[in-house]
């Protein structure tokens, strides 16, 4: 890692530190660059997770590897029981993609809630999932859907169940020499779903968000990663009512406190939003 003082607390800045910018033309080329530079390199796709951090100098890679235009990594298609989404597919594309709207409307809906239109024009699903912010919408939806994340490294692609992907705060199963290339979610056409995003302003990160589909419930901003509401899921599987199951949503979570909500209120929201998301999914 480059020597950097990291004097970012209270610092006024808007300008990133200097870096080398590389734009590989192939996925293999990108992976080779990651191998070569290790921790000194960061992948750049939409840039709306990375560049804000770089401007604040909370992230200061020596090498930025721009993969946004790599061929073949931006698409939405059906493969058997799955919907296969290229990692570089932009949020804006997901919002209106006819295949996704038909086969996985939860994901299309949630993609349309990320940030604002300008963010959605640039942000990618792969970038959001790889970043692994516990307060992010797309990781929440992907976690609720289940399925796998495909990571491609020097030895080729490997699949990681999405439930194993988010490890800790901004830490995922993605290795330093890997590129997240695909997200595979089950086809859920005709299956009820619900998404509740609680904010004070529409453009804000969710104070808490809940995605519910097919007996699975995932939550944003209730811990170090996006989380499944396992107690709720188990209760549902055991035949509990929606309200009873939702009342368990915050079990096992470690919500933080900030200016918008203390832990108590977050727990309340998790339970409330879970109930509402489940009701929507059930069509009630």
């Amino acid at each position: 890692m480059r020597e950097h003082d990291g004097r970012h607390d209270g610092r006024p800045g808007v300008i990133p530190t200097s870096f080398d910018y590389v734009r590989p033309t192939t996925l293999e080329g990108a992976i080779a660059l990651l191998q070569e530079h290790g921790d000194d390199a960061k992948l750049l796709a939409g840039g709306h997770s990375l560049l804000p951090l770089m401007k604040l100098r909370l992230s200061f890679p020596a090498v930025v590897v721009d993969i946004a235009n790599l061929e073949g990594l931006s698409s939405v298609r059906v493969e058997g029981d799955e919907v296969v989404i290229g990692a570089l597919t932009r949020d804006r594309t997901l919002q209106t993609d006819p295949v996704l709207l038909a086969e996985c409307p939860l994901l299309a809906h949630v993609a349309g809630l990320v940030g604002d239109p300008q963010v959605r024009a640039r942000g990618t699903i792969g970038g959001s999932v790889a970043h692994g912010d516990p307060a992010s919408d797309l990781p929440t939806a992907v976690l609720a859907l289940g399925g796998t994340v495909v990571l491609t490294g020097p030895a080729g692609p490997r699949s990681v169940p999405v439930t194993d992907f988010f490890r800790s705060f901004l830490e995922t199963a993605l290795r330093p020499d890997e590129v997240l290339t695909e997200i595979r979610v089950p086809r859920t056409d005709g299956i009820g779903w619900g998404y509740e995003k609680f904010t004070r302003r529409a453009n804000d990160w969710p104070i808490v968000a809940v995605a519910a589909i097919d007996g699975r419930v995932a939550m944003a901003n209730m811990g170090q990663t996006v989380l499944r509401a396992t107690a709720t899921e188990q209760a549902l599987a055991a035949g509990a009512s929606l309200a009873e199951a939702a009342a368990l949503a915050d079990q096992g979570t470690t919500p933080g406190a900030d200016m918008h909500a203390d832990a108590d209120y977050r727990r309340h929201l998790a339970r409330l939003l879970t109930r509402r998301a489940l009701e929507t999914a059930a069509g009630t």
């Binding site: 006024p12 609680f198 004070r200």
Partner: protein, 758 residues
Amino acid sequence: MSILGTRVVRREDPLFLTRGATYTDDLVQDQLVGALHVTLVRSTTAHARVVRVDASGALEAPGVVAVVTAADLADLSPLAPEVPLFHQAMLRPWLAKDVVRFVGEPIVVVLTEERYQGEDAAELVEVDLEPLPAVVGVTRAVTDEVLLFPEAGTNTVVTFGEPAPDDLFTGCEVVITQDVVNQRVAPVPLETRAASAAWGQDGRLTLWCSNQGAQMVRAQVSRWLGLDPALVQVKTPDVGGGFGAKVGADPEFALVAWLARHVGRPVRWAETRSENLTGMLHGRGQQQRITIGGSRDGDVTAYSLEVVQDAGAYPRLGAVLPSLTLLMAPAVYAIDRVHAYARSVVTTTTSTGAYRGAGRPEATAAVERAMDLFAAEIGMDAAEVRRRNLVPRFTEPHTTSSGATYDCGDYPGALDLLLHTVGYDQLRREQAARRERGDVHQLGLGVSVYVEITGAGLDGPAEDARLEVHPDGTATVLTGTSPHGQGHATAWAMLVSDELGIPLDAITVLHGDTDLMPRGGGTHASRSLQQGGVAVHQASVELVAIARQRAAELLEVAPEDLVVDKTRAGLQVAGDPSTAVTFAELAAAEPLEVDTTFSAPAATFPFGAHLAVVEVDTESGKATLQRLVALDDAGRILNPLLADGQRHGGLAQGAAQALLEEVLYDDEGNPLTSTLADYPFVSATELPSFELITMETPTPVNPLGAKGIGESGTIGSAPAVQSAVIDAVAHLGVRHIDMPTTPMRVWSALRAAEEKRS
């Protein structure tokens, strides 16, 4: 047909919409070629001793031309508080030397050839700070346990009035006391502060800066730097919003000028938004204790308001604003006994200053809250309680117990028209129906009636105008006002055009250059139309009089036989177009110009009534503003398009304060809302379209009959919206929720009320 009172689109807009306006950081003048960029190193600790500053690392960085610390500024005396009433020992250094007193206080300046280099170099400056105990919140500050200025011996900057007498509420059947917070907010003009300075070969300083009045800036900068004002020219480019926070100079402006002289090159500074959120003056910041007393039949007979104002670290304009709060404490009500007292104290936070309303929103919010509490206590409708206690309609000046003399007002009329227009009874019925059903989403109604003081500017009630008609038929107006969105280039041109008939597009309005207009009061306190506009109108009238005399001589007729012919922008003998002469022709013969001053005999008092309809999700506590209806009377309206725009902006800011915005610090004085990602600046999705009702009761105070309108929106709307949120859950036992009425606060209030019931 007069153009006055009609909706005229702005002349500023074609340029703004095609090339964009030219703000201070956009300037590319020859004088600024080669300008160095200023990057400030600021304190990251709220209260600390400065132990060591080492800039040696920065000096080596690429593009660094100079690094300046307090040691280099020894020839500049620290700034004493501008207001003589303030404790004069609370000195503000130019750059922190021994102590820092708020997060964001400048310590070191780095000057680089290019902007990007500045941030790199600033990171290499080492500052060692030894923390001292922080003082956050006025409750802590008033104890004087930790003093920001040991040499002052106190944290109290100034007090106004005296504590209330013990017997103020004797005889009242009902007495209610409530502690209320009028929270600190950030003005957040979209353009942050910026200044550029260049010294000429002639020894004169040219200072470009984003401000609300060049003349005040010049006076301050000259004084601070010990310069003859004649050597200082301040020029105001287009300004991206001010809202009171850009009134007068910030020390950074003078610092930029000093730096330019120090290095012998032009210098430019444009702060980042994070700097702005900790460096620009904050608004509001009052802790209030309200007490209201009266009889059970709704007659309010006594009211007391105690204010503790958070001045921030270095007392600026914010510390004197409570005097306006006290002046407007009785507001629109006829209350026998009103008492108000205020104290301003320093805390280890950003200084407070004027922010749209500047002391008056705080007064209205306090008394409106008191009225609502009184209404709830006696079980009377909130609008009805108000109606019973309003000062009746008056056309002659009315002096309140606090010493304000209101020019004219019809508060009952405003309230009645508002309630009638919105269908108040129907709204109450809908609310009742939802309560009956126990809906999750409950409706709340909030009503406010307000009066506010406009025209009480910092530099007095006078304004200058200079009008010149040119031989080519165009005209130029020079004004001492300083528009930053208000549209004076259009409005003042309308005033001239209305008198002279010169087309709007042929009239240029200039402001903001102290070489052209050495004297001027700027734009703040909603003074511009009623002082600056009237001056322009007066200049037009005077110019016509001069022209009439000359035309009479030229045409060999009596002056009184001549009438203004607006279609040809000239004068003619009534009914005889053959005897006509245009103003342009007169100007060709001899310069046709007027310099005039209008001094307003008094301030004016616009008034109105606002109603908010809010829906509260009682499960989550989230409040959604559904309707905001504003009835405002600001006297005669010159351009309803512009006036409505001012009202909209004020309504948004008031609603934002009620629902969303607050500047927060942790206990160590670290700001928690120092980016626009954290500070909940209201966006389009949180607001409805507004509903405006206009009353026009011309004021007798000036010939245009105009009062100010710029700040009324914030004054009426914040209490109405706050009241509506509380009203939505009042039936569940909630009596008070401080602004901003965040979802968590509403939810907590509901839980507390529920616990009380069980």
